[in-house]
Structure formats: structure tokens, C-alpha cells
């Protein structure tokens, strides 16, 4: 039953046993035994990245697009420190990752050996859990526990640090089925008694006059069934629903009850409805500051229901009336059942008044922008990208900044797991490696990284990876030669002093693509845009499409820092009131 093998072989066997198909990594001295074992087998594919930071974002992209665990393999010291950003990103956005790091041999630990660092110490706050494995016999129990913890409850990254001597040493392999994980180390749904809470939830919704569903990334992490249940509940109640940046795709954009995204750059009608609602049903979201705006004016007159698997999110930022701790799928199943069993209905005339109000807000047409015949407007570029790709199986990843918000606003998502963006940490450089990971997991899909000219340079070295594995990832750069969001904030809050936000000496992105033996395309004028997008889609290679867009376009609508949901700024001409602006300036 249990087998004797080397530590490195146990690592590989554990991965196989866990159903891992792909590992993203980069070799180095302290992981050579694992790479040697990798060389001798065929069941696991290794994707060689060009910097470890790329490996972990690729694993995140893989995980988000599939719902499976993303696996990373890197060496000690710099290999480990380079994954710290990605671990933190995965922690913030609840992405299941198992990251394996090599460590110097045990007798050298603490001696400041070559490529030694305190990996478990450094990564403790940015992982759900981490391990330093000193005994080869403990490797398989640790691996199986790590995979469980990464996916269990609120998912997250887990790191396993393995000294080189442990990789060489012999030990016993224990199968997944023979590992018992003590329950206190996992999420324990049975400790939350929710039955009564479900009644309260259903009761509140049925009596609501102005309800709104506020849907977050937890609905995606809970699996595809959760999205179905959300749609079902929304339809049963007839209530409007808005989604966070992480929740886009849970309820299709074309769904009549969808108000689109809420928050800082969310839809006017979504934010107004959040502000004015009388019952708010938060499903798998965490009242992030990008969503709430000023707290003392956050939805002042509503009863709030909060469904979250992580108890620490309850009453962390916003005090709620009915907290329900549990997995979205299982909680919503009960909610739907109780609703049906009791034959409940929302009051249609109240709801009609509520929708009338919302439809009036919609008339503002907050995403309106003035198109231009000479310059490509970035919003227009995303609109065209959507129109020309909407009938394909398309995954959109983004970097961080204006382009990310425009993609969230103008691209319409109909399914979960198709939108991969760094929400919590806001990591520039995330999108391209994430697209690589998503493409590895979905070879037949169209995977597009909507990027900015600044963000894309943060992990541009992964061009080499994409080309090596013939991954036809498309990089769609909205090029305005600025760190656009930084510039926008400088314009709005710092007197238009564009300190260091202009990028001089950008590369020629077409030539850059060609130098990697990829395809480079460029659109300078609106009339070239469709052709470039179509060519990008039809090219079966890695493509960089360099789209020259208006340089000083701002991302609107916007709840500026320090303002509330009902104080959205719709255009440049509208000014934030002075007091909020002063307060907002010091915030992030």
C-alpha cells in the first residue's frame, strides 16, 4: 500500500495523486532533484516561465479559468521571493495555489547559505498556510493536506518548502486516501447553525420593497452551480443584481436583472441602487473599500444580509443584520428551497416602483463617451473587442489600471471563470502570465490579455514562454504612453502634475513581438481597429496588438476616494465636493 521512494519522487507522486496535469516553474540549485524526477516522467507537464513571478500568475490564471488548483515549482532564495507578489495576489483574491519551493539542505539552514532565505517566514502572512518539510516521510501527508487546504473553505495559496536533502532522502509515500486531516485544520460548516438564519434571509427578501443582490467572487469560487443558483434566486425574486469586479460573469451581463458592476468605476444605476435599497443581499463579497465608498454614507437605510464562507469577513467593514457563514452553493440551495416551499413572492407593485427608479438612473447612460473619428477611444476599442469576440469561447485577463476598468465596464461577461483580473492586490503584470495559464488550461479558447502600455512591461519576458509553448495568447494593449490611472488621479487630485506617470522610450511593440517570433499588429486610427482585432483573432500565434488610444482619456463614472455611492462623478466637468476631495486625497 505504502511505497518507499525518494523525497523528489514523493513530490511527483503526490502531484499525480492529486490529479495535477500542469506545473508552472523555473529550476534552480535547490530544486534540482525534483526537476530530475520531472525529467523521468510523462504524466505532468511543466511550463518553463521566464521569471518566477510569471509562474505564479500563470498558475493563478490556470486556477481561475478551471476552478482547479494551480501548481508552482521554484527554487530557494530569489525563486521563493519572486513568488511573494503572486502569493499575496492569490491570498487577496482567494485563488487555490500550491507553491513548492526548494530550500538549502537542512544542515545549512540558518547559515546564510547561497540562495538561502527564510521562505516560510517571508510567506507566512501571504499564504493560507505553509510548511517546511524536514522529513521525507511527512512529504505526502503535507502535500495532500496542502491541496485540501488550498481548496477548502475560502480558497488560497499554500506553500511547501523542501530542503534539498529531503528531496534526495528516502521515505514512505502515503496515498491521499490514507491521510486523515484533523477537522480543526479545515473549514467546519457544521459549527455554523444556519437553519434559522435562512428563514430570516428569506423573510427579509420577501418583504423587501427595494431589494438588491450584491454578488462577489465567492460565487465563482463556490463553483458553477453557485452561479446558476444566483440566477435562479434573482429570477425568483425579480430583484436587481450588481456584481463586484471579482463577481463579473456570475449573472450574465445580458440578464435583464443585471445592473453590471458596482463600486468606484461601477455603473451609476448599480451604485445608486445600493445606496437607496432597503434590503441588501451580499453573496460572497467582502465590502471592499473599492465597492463601499465612504462608509458613513454606505447604503444607510438598508437591512443587510451577508453570505460568506469566511467568518472574519462578517462585520469586518460593515455591520450586517443577518450574517450567514457558509458556502454560497449550499446556502443558496437552502434559500431557494425555503423560498419555494413557502411559496413566497416579492411584492410586485413595490418592485415595479423600484425598477422604475432604477430605469430612470439607467437613462443617465453612465458609460456614454464621445467617440472620435481621428483617435481611437479606449472605451471604443473594448466595445469593438467585445463585439468581435463575443461569439467565441473567450477568456479576458487584464493587468491593472484604466484598461482594466474599461474592460470591466465595456466587455460583457456571460459566464463565470471567463474574467481573470487582479482585484484585491491590484497587481500590474498579472494579466499576461495569467493569460498564459488560462491558455494552457484551455488550448482551444481565445485568451486575450487586455493590457496597458505600462503594465505589460512588468512581465513582458513571458513572451518567450508563450512562444515556446505555442500559446496563441493575444495581448491587446491600450497604449496611451501613460500609467493612465496614476495620471488620472494626478489630474483629479494633484493639480495635473503628472509626476513620473508618462512613459518615455516605450518599445516598438510590433518589433518587440517580432523579436520573440510572435506577431505584432498596430492600430493608430479608428478605421484600422476592426481589421487589427480580426487579424489578431485569426492568427494562430502569440500576438501583440498595439492599439494607440486617446492619451488623456479618463475612466468614468467614478466614485472618487472619500465620496459615497450617490456622489458619483460622471465626467471631467463634474467636480467632487471640496471636503470629500480633501479627505479623499489621503486615501489610496
Amino acid at each position: 500500500m505504502n511505497q518507499e521512494m525518494t523525497g523528489a519522487e514523493i513530490v511527483l507522486q503526490s502531484l499525480v495523486d492529486q490529479g495535477v496535469e500542469v506545473v508552472f516553474g523555473y529550476p534552480g540549485g535547490a530544486v534540482l532533484p525534483i526537476y530530475d524526477t520531472l525529467f523521468k516522467q510523462n504524466s505532468i507537464k511543466h511550463i518553463l516561465v521566464r521569471q518566477e513571478g510569471g509562474a505564479i500568475h500563470a498558475a493563478e490564471g490556470y486556477a481561475r479559468s478551471t476552478g482547479k488548483v494551480g501548481v508552482v515549482l521554484v527554487t530557494s532564495g530569489p525563486g521563493a521571493t519572486n513568488v511573494v507578489t503572486g502569493l499575496t495576489d492569490a491570498m487577496m483574491d482567494s485563488i487555490p495555489i500550491v507553491c513548492i519551493t526548494g530550500q538549502v539542505p537542512q544542515h545549512l539552514i540558518g547559515s546564510d547559505a547561497f540562495q538561502e532565505c527564510d521562505t516560510t517566514g517571508i510567506t507566512r502572512p501571504c499564504t493560507k498556510h505553509n510548511y517546511l518539510v524536514k522529513d521525507p516521510n511527512k512529504l505526502s501527508p503535507v502535500f495532500h493536506e496542502a491541496f485540501t487546504i488550498a481548496q477548502d473553505g475560502r480558497p488560497g495559496p499554500v506553500l511547501i518548502d523542501i530542503p534539498k536533502d529531503v528531496q534526495f532522502a528516502n521515505g514512505t509515500y502515503t496515498k491521499k486516501e490514507n491521510i486523515i486531516i484533523p477537522p480543526h485544520r479545515l473549514f467546519e460548516p457544521e459549527i455554523f447553525k444556519n437553519d434559522q438564519k435562512i428563514d430570516e434571509v428569506v423573510n427579509l427578501i420577501s418583504k423587501a420593497k427595494k431589494p438588491i443582490f450584491y454578488i462577489g467572487g465567492g460565487c465563482i469560487n463556490s463553483g458553477p452551480k453557485a452561479s446558476e443558483l444566483v440566477s435562479q434566486l434573482v429570477e425568483m425574486t425579480g430583484a436587481p443584481a450588481t456584481m463586484t469586479l471579482m463577481g463579473l460573469g456570475v449573472l450574465g451581463s445580458s440578464h435583464p436583472n443585471s445592473l453590471g458592476m458596482l463600486g468606484m468605476h461601477g455603473m451609476y444605476e448599480a451604485n445608486m441602487a445600493m445606496h437607496d435599497c432597503d434590503v441588501m443581499i451580499n453573496i460572497g463579497a467582502r465590502f471592499d473599500d473599492r465597492v463601499t465608498g465612504r462608509l458613513d454614507a454606505f447604503s444607510p437605510n438598508s437591512k443587510k444580509i451577508h453570505i460568506d464562507i469566511d467568518e472574519s469577513n462578517i462585520n469586518k467593514i460593515i455591520k450586517v443584520d443577518v450574517p450567514v457563514v457558509g458556502d454560497v452553493t449550499s446556502v443558496l440551495k437552502s434559500v431557494v428551497k425555503v423560498w419555494k416551499d413557502n411559496n413566497l413572492k416579492t411584492n410586485q407593485s413595490d418592485l415595479k416602483l423600484w425598477w422604475d427608479k432604477i430605469n430612470n438612473w439607467k437613462k443617465i447612460d453612465c458609460l456614454h463617451f464621445t467617440n472620435n473619428e481621428k483617435e481611437i477611444k479606449p472605451q471604443y476599442a473594448i466595445q469593438r473587442l467585445y463585439e468581435l469576440t463575443k461569439d467565441k469561447k473567450t477568456f479576458i485577463t487584464t493587468e491593472v489600471g484604466q484598461h482594466q476598468m474599461w474592460a470591466a465596464q465595456y466587455y460583457k461577461f456571460e459566464k463565470p471563470n471567463r474574467w481573470l483580473t487582479s482585484g484585491g492586490l491590484g497587481t500590474m503584470g498579472y494579466g499576461f502570465p495569467a493569460a498564459i495559464g488560462a491558455q494552457v488550461a484551455n488550448p482551444d479558447a481565445l485568451v486575450i490579455d487586455v493590457a496597458g502600455d505600462a503594465s505589460i512591461l512588468m512581465n513582458i519576458q513571458e513572451m518567450s514562454t508563450a512562444v515556446q509553448y505555442r500559446l496563441p495568447v493575444k495581448i491587446f494593449i491600450l497604449n496611451n504612453e501613460y500609467m493612465g490611472m496614476v495620471r488620472q488621479w494626478q489630474e483629479l487630485l494633484h493639480g495635473g502634475r503628472y509626476s513620473e506617470s508618462y512613459t518615455d522610450s516605450l518599445p516598438d511593440f510590433v518589433k518587440l513581438a517580432e523579436s520573440y517570433k510572435a506577431v505584432g499588429l498596430r492600430a493608430k486610427e479608428p478605421e484600422e481597429l476592426d481589421d487589427v482585432i480580426n487579424e489578431m483573432i485569426s492568427t494562430d500565434k502569440t500576438v501583440i496588438a498595439d492599439i494607440w488610444v486617446s492619451k488623456e482619456e479618463n475612466c468614468f463614472p467614478m466614485i472618487q476616494s472619500g465620496s459615497a455611492h450617490n456622489e458619483m462623478v460622471l465626467s471631467k466637468d463634474q467636480k467632487q465636493d471640496k471636503l470629500s476631495a480633501e479627505k479623499g486625497k489621503i486615501l489610496v
Binding site: T120, G121, R124, P125, K128, H129, N130, L132, I149, P182, H184, R185, D289, T292, G293, R294, L295, D296, D310, E311, S312, I314, N315, K316, I317, I318, K319, S561, G562, L587, V588
Partner: protein, 180 residues
């Protein structure tokens, strides 16, 4: 509420002292996880005490004295529970009836002039003299932290002292304290 980018509207509750007792797997790094959570999220630790309580089950009990509003302390409890090796967290002040004790060791600068007074105070507080090879005068005092505070205050008025304190440990007086 806890904290956010924005000022919270209802930050009106008062801050008070709380004793949290945390049962954990006694594995490498567990204390660092607990302490790191406090420092990383900006919570206070007034004192912290850790020792193994069950050898065969490898369980340790960490006693933490912290200061905060009930909202903050409730958030601390939930954050502690997210740590994988944490079994359970109890807030002893919340449970009402608990007993706490602390140990202090005091090295006293003793001379003929202050001798009588020192022994009187030690007697009153039931501080016990600990014999040692170097014949220095070391007293041990145990009990509630408040009592040790008073002892130190009185002793300070008499002579120079050097002091080390364990920080309090505490236990619930309810009969069934077993969380597992």
C-alpha cells in the same frame, strides 16, 4: 467596526482589556503565525504566554492579553480561527467567570536599612524568597496582575528592584472547559 480606508460611522464603543486563550497544534511556526497576525493587522498584544498543555496530543495554549473594542476583539478572534493550526479561541472576559494568575520574580537590593520594610511588604503580598547559590535576594510572587502591580509599586518606594513577569495565564471557571 474594525478598520477600513474610510472612517467608520459607528466607532463609538469603548476599548477594554481582554484575555484570549488560544488552543493550537504545537508545531513549528505556530507562535509566529499568531503574533504575525496581530502585528500584520495592527492589533495590540499587552502580554503573551505560551506553553504545551498536552504532550501526547501536541497541544499548546497561548494566552494573549489584548486591548480593544468588542468589535476589534471579535475580529481578532475570527482572524485567529483562520490560522490552520488553531483549534479554538475563547475570550475569557466575555465568558464572565475566569481566574487569572501571573508570576513575577523580583531581585531586590537589600541592605540593613531597608530589610525590615522589604520583608514586611513581602509578607503582606505572600512573596516567597527563593534560595540561590549567589545568595542574592530573589522573591517570587504569584497572583492576579493587579496585585503584582501593587506589590511592585510599594517595593519601588523602598528600594531598587529588578523584575521579570510572565504575563497572565487564565482559565475559565466553567466546569466543562474542554473545547475539543
Amino acid at each position: 467596526m474594525n478598520k477600513s480606508v474610510y472612517d467608520s460611522p459607528d466607532n463609538t464603543s469603548v476599548s477594554s482589556r481582554h484575555i484570549l486563550t488560544v488552543l493550537v497544534d504545537n508545531e513549528p511556526g505556530v507562535l509566529a503565525r499568531v503574533i504575525g497576525m496581530f502585528s500584520g493587522r495592527g492589533y495590540n498584544i499587552e502580554s503573551l504566554n505560551v506553553a504545551e498543555v498536552s504532550n501526547d496530543e501536541h497541544l499548546s495554549r497561548i494566552t494573549i492579553v489584548t486591548e480593544g473594542t468588542s468589535e476589534v476583539v471579535s475580529q481578532i478572534e475570527k482572524q485567529l480561527l483562520r490560522i490552520v493550526p488553531v483549534h479554538s479561541v475563547s475570550n475569557l472576559d466575555e465568558e464572565g467567570s475566569s481566574v487569572e494568575a501571573e508570576v513575577g520574580l523580583i531581585n531586590i537590593d537589600l541592605n540593613e536599612a531597608n530589610k525590615k520594610k522589604v520583608y514586611e511588604v513581602c509578607d503582606f503580598y505572600r512573596a516567597r524568597k527563593i534560595e540561590n547559590e549567589n545568595n542574592s535576594v530573589i522573591f517570587e510572587i504569584a497572583g492576579a496582575s493587579e496585585r503584582i502591580n501593587r506589590f511592585i509599586k510599594e517595593m519601588n518606594q523602598i528600594t531598587k528592584i529588578e523584575i521579570v513577569r510572565s504575563g497572565p495565564v487564565a482559565i475559565s471557571t466553567h466546569k466543562n472547559t474542554e473545547e475539543e
